[in-house]
Assembly symmetry: C2
């Protein structure tokens, strides 16, 4: 068990080249959202919502808006991970960002495990992109689009990087 989980973490890479026209099946999108909702959250508030996209028209619209997600046109499959401020912790509302980022990482790892390719395309707090994505997805005011995870079948050009840097590991104190 431990090797497969650790290997999946190590081997996951951002995939930006997808087999054109091959969408992710709905049951897999649901599986990925389930993985996202399994993430921990501050005081278990689960301050999130997920928009799964597999409609080529909506996908093309988002691809035209987001400057780093043009390849969404190829796969027409994505999940937008959103924060729900109504569910955010009262004392420290900003914890939603950390909770939704953990949910995002779960989805990326689950995609890798399912043989899919995925890449995290940042939306919030990019003021050039966020309002446009919000409008396209018709989000209520309280829902913040954190990112678009573009998903699809990898066209096979990306390799994992070894990013371990022992200088960034300190012991006991700085």
């Amino acid at each position: 068990m431990e090797n497969q989980v650790l290997n999946n973490i190590r081997q996951r890479r951002s995939v930006r080249h997808f087999v054109p026209g091959k969408r992710v099946p709905r049951e897999q999108l649901i599986e990925l959202v389930k993985a996202g909702m399994a993430a921990p959250s501050a005081c278990n508030r689960q301050p999130w919502a997920f928009i799964a996209i597999d409609d080529p028209e909506v996908a093309a619209e988002l691809a035209a808006i987001h400057p780093h997600a043009a390849f969404l046109r190829d796969s027409s499959s994505a999940i937008a991970v959103c924060g729900d401020l109504d569910r955010a912790l009262t004392e420290i509302p900003d914890y939603w960002l950390q909770d939704c980022s953990a949910a995002t990482e779960n989805i990326l790892l689950a995609a890798e495990a399912l043989g899919l390719g995925a890449v995290w395309c940042g939306v919030h707090p990019n003021s050039a992109i966020e309002p446009k994505i919000r409008a396209a997805l018709k989000l209520p005011e309280r829902i913040i689009p954190l990112n678009l995870i573009v998903l699809g079948y990898p066209a096979g050009q990306e390799q994992p990087k070894d990013k371990f840097d022992p200088e960034r590991l300190h012991w006991q104190r700085w």
Copy 2:
């Protein structure tokens, strides 16, 4: 492969009861930090640093500071995930928060896969806790303590929760 990774994501739970006096071996702490550094980051800036703690004195000091981490006294094992503002993206510095949260989730999942227990104890942006943790860990100004991940051998009281809520999944648009 896919089942073990997905099962690990589903079965991971926050562990707050640890076998007293049983510390996590150093090679496992390094393995966990490696998993953290495998996370994706905006423009691959890797804006992070990790403090691994296995000294009972430092652990007791942190346990006395953090109001929700008293059990760190039992395991004396933790990793503080920190943002490094010098490595943050110039245009959108706040992306470090998302990157470091993804790294944190990798560590939590890797801990589960290694048979360890772990819990994410939030630090930043909790103004009551952050300055004290910063002082205890002797962090330079540019290093922000995002959290303390307390680690140890589970004493066996926590169960995973099924948090899937189909109402939080929308299709195509809100």
